[in-house]
C-alpha cells in the first residue's frame, strides 16, 4: 500500500511537470493524485467494480481540486488533470489493442468497452462534483442575499 501511495504521488507530480503546471502547485498535484489512487485501490481491494471505484475516486479528486483551486485562486484544471491521470485505463486500452492484433475480437471489444466505461465514469465523477459545487454556491448566495435583505 505504501508503495502505491508513494508511486502515485511521484507519478502525478511528474505529470504536473509534463503539463507545465506552476512550480508551486506540483506537490499539491501529487497529493491530489495520491488521494485519488488511494481511494481507487482501496475500493478495488474491497472488490468493488473498477468503474464504480473510478467514479468515486474521480469525485473525490474533483472535490479536493475545487478546494485547492479556491484556496490558491488557480484554475481547477491544474489539480484535476494531474489527479485523474493515474485512473486513466491505459492498461485496459493496451490489453484491448493486443487482443485486436491477434484477431481475438470478442475479448478485445469487451476490454475496449470496459475502458470506455471507466473513462466515462471518471468524467461523470468530475461533472457530479462540479454540479454539486454550483448548487452549494447558489444556496450560499441565496442565504447571503436573504441576510442582506433582513439587514
Amino acid at each position: 500500500m505504501i508503495v502505491h501511495l508513494i508511486t502515485s504521488f511521484i507519478a502525478s507530480a511528474a505529470f504536473g511537470i509534463l503539463f507545465n503546471a506552476p512550480k508551486k502547485s506540483l506537490l499539491k498535484c501529487g497529493f491530489v493524485g495520491m488521494a485519488g489512487w488511494f481511494i481507487y485501490i482501496f475500493l478495488v481491494n474491497k472488490e468493488f467494480d473498477a468503474v464504480v471505484a473510478s467514479l468515486v475516486a474521480a469525485f473525490v479528486i474533483a472535490v479536493i481540486s475545487q478546494t485547492f483551486a479556491r484556496m490558491y485562486k488557480t484554475p481547477i484544471i491544474i489539480f484535476s488533470v494531474s489527479g485523474i491521470i493515474p485512473l486513466v485505463p491505459g492498461g485496459l486500452a493496451y490489453d484491448a489493442m493486443r487482443h485486436f492484433v491477434v484477431n481475438d475480437y470478442n475479448v478485445a471489444i469487451q476490454l475496449a468497452a470496459k475502458a470506455f466505461m471507466i473513462s466515462g465514469a471518471i468524467a461523470v465523477g468530475l461533472v457530479i462534483s462540479e454540479v454539486l459545487n454550483q448548487l452549494l454556491m447558489k444556496i450560499k448566495f441565496k442565504k447571503k442575499k436573504k441576510a442582506n435583505e433582513v439587514n
Binding site: 509534463l18 503539463f19 484544471i77 491521470i85 493515474p86 493486443r98 473513462s119 471518471i122 468530475l126
Partner: protein, 251 residues
C-alpha cells in the same frame, strides 16, 4: 480613467487574445468562453457571444461590429499560461488593470516560454513510467527497464514532433520504440513482464486528459468540441496502439 471604457475593437482584441492563449495551452472549452464573456462584461458589454471549438474561436459583440474569428492550429498543454491568463482576467474584473495594461500583459504571456527545461520533462516522463509500472502491480525488477523505455519513448516523441509536426506519426514512432526496447529488455533477461513494462512506459503518451475532457465537454453541452476532442484522443490512442501492435505482432 479615460481608459475605463475603451473602443469596442480593443475589447474584442483583448478577449480574442486571452481566449487564444487559453485554448492553445489546453484550457477547457467552458473556461475559455467564460473568460471571454467576463472580460467583455467588465468593459460594459454584457451581451457577447463566443463559440469555441478546439480549432477556432468565433467571437461577436452585440451591435454593428462584425464577428471575429481566430484559427488555432497548434495545441499544447501548458497549464502555467492558463493560470496566468486567468489571473489577468481576474485583475481586469476587479479593476486593477486597464485594458491597455492587460493587452500588453497578455502579449508578454503569449511570447514567453515557461515550459520546464526539456531534460526535466524527460526525467519526469521516465520516473512516472517507473511509478506507473509499480501502480499496475509490476515487479521492482522491471522498474529500471520501464524507466529507460519510457524516457527514450518520450525523447523520440519530442524530437520527432519538432521535425515533423505530425502528432500521429511521432506518437506512433515513440510507442514503437517503447515496444522494441521493452521487448529487448525481456529478451536479454533484464525485464520479466513485457506487458507491464509497456503499459507503464506508454502512460506519458496516453491521451487520458483528452478522453476525459471530451466526455466532460459533451456532458456540458459543448457538442462540437467534445466530439472533436474525442476524435483527437481516438487518433492518438490508435497511433500508440499501432506502434505497440507492430511489436506484439512479431513477438
Amino acid at each position: 480613467m479615460e481608459n475605463r471604457f475603451p473602443q469596442t475593437y480593443e475589447v474584442i482584441e483583448l478577449c480574442l487574445l486571452a481566449g487564444k492563449i487559453m485554448l492553445q495551452c489546453g484550457g477547457e472549452t467552458y473556461r475559455v468562453e467564460d473568460t471571454m464573456t467576463r472580460i467583455a462584461a467588465t468593459f460594459g458589454i454584457p451581451q457577447s457571444h463566443s463559440y469555441v471549438t478546439p480549432t477556432g474561436i468565433i467571437f461577436s459583440i452585440d451591435g454593428t461590429e462584425p464577428a471575429k474569428f481566430i484559427r488555432i492550429s497548434e495545441r499544447t498543454t501548458d497549464l502555467y499560461k492558463v493560470t496566468l491568463v486567468n489571473g489577468v482576467s481576474r485583475k481586469l474584473s476587479s479593476g486593477e488593470l486597464t485594458a491597455e495594461q492587460a493587452l500588453n500583459r497578455l502579449k508578454e504571456i503569449q511570447d514567453a516560454d515557461f515550459t520546464f527545461p526539456i531534460y526535466q520533462q524527460i526525467i519526469a516522463a521516465s520516473i512516472s513510467s517507473g511509478c506507473f509500472l509499480m501502480m499496475f502491480l509490476g515487479q521492482w525488477s522491471d522498474f529500471i527497464p520501464a524507466v529507460i523505455a519510457g524516457g527514450l519513448g518520450f525523447v523520440c516523441f519530442v524530437y520527432i514532433h519538432q521535425i515533423l509536426k505530425v502528432r500521429f506519426f511521432s506518437e506512433f514512432v515513440a510507442s514503437l520504440v517503447i515496444g522494441l526496447i521493452a521487448f529487448l529488455f525481456v529478451k536479454i533477461g533484464v525485464g520479466t513482464q513485457l506487458d507491464k513494462i509497456i503499459i507503464g512506459s506508454v502512460m506519458p503518451l496516453v491521451p487520458g486528459l483528452l478522453i476525459t475532457n471530451a466526455v466532460r465537454d459533451l456532458m456540458a453541452g459543448h457538442l462540437v468540441s467534445g466530439l472533436s476532442k474525442g476524435a483527437d484522443a481516438f487518433l492518438t490512442a490508435c497511433a500508440i496502439g499501432t506502434g505497440i501492435a507492430v511489436v506484439v505482432a512479431f513477438y
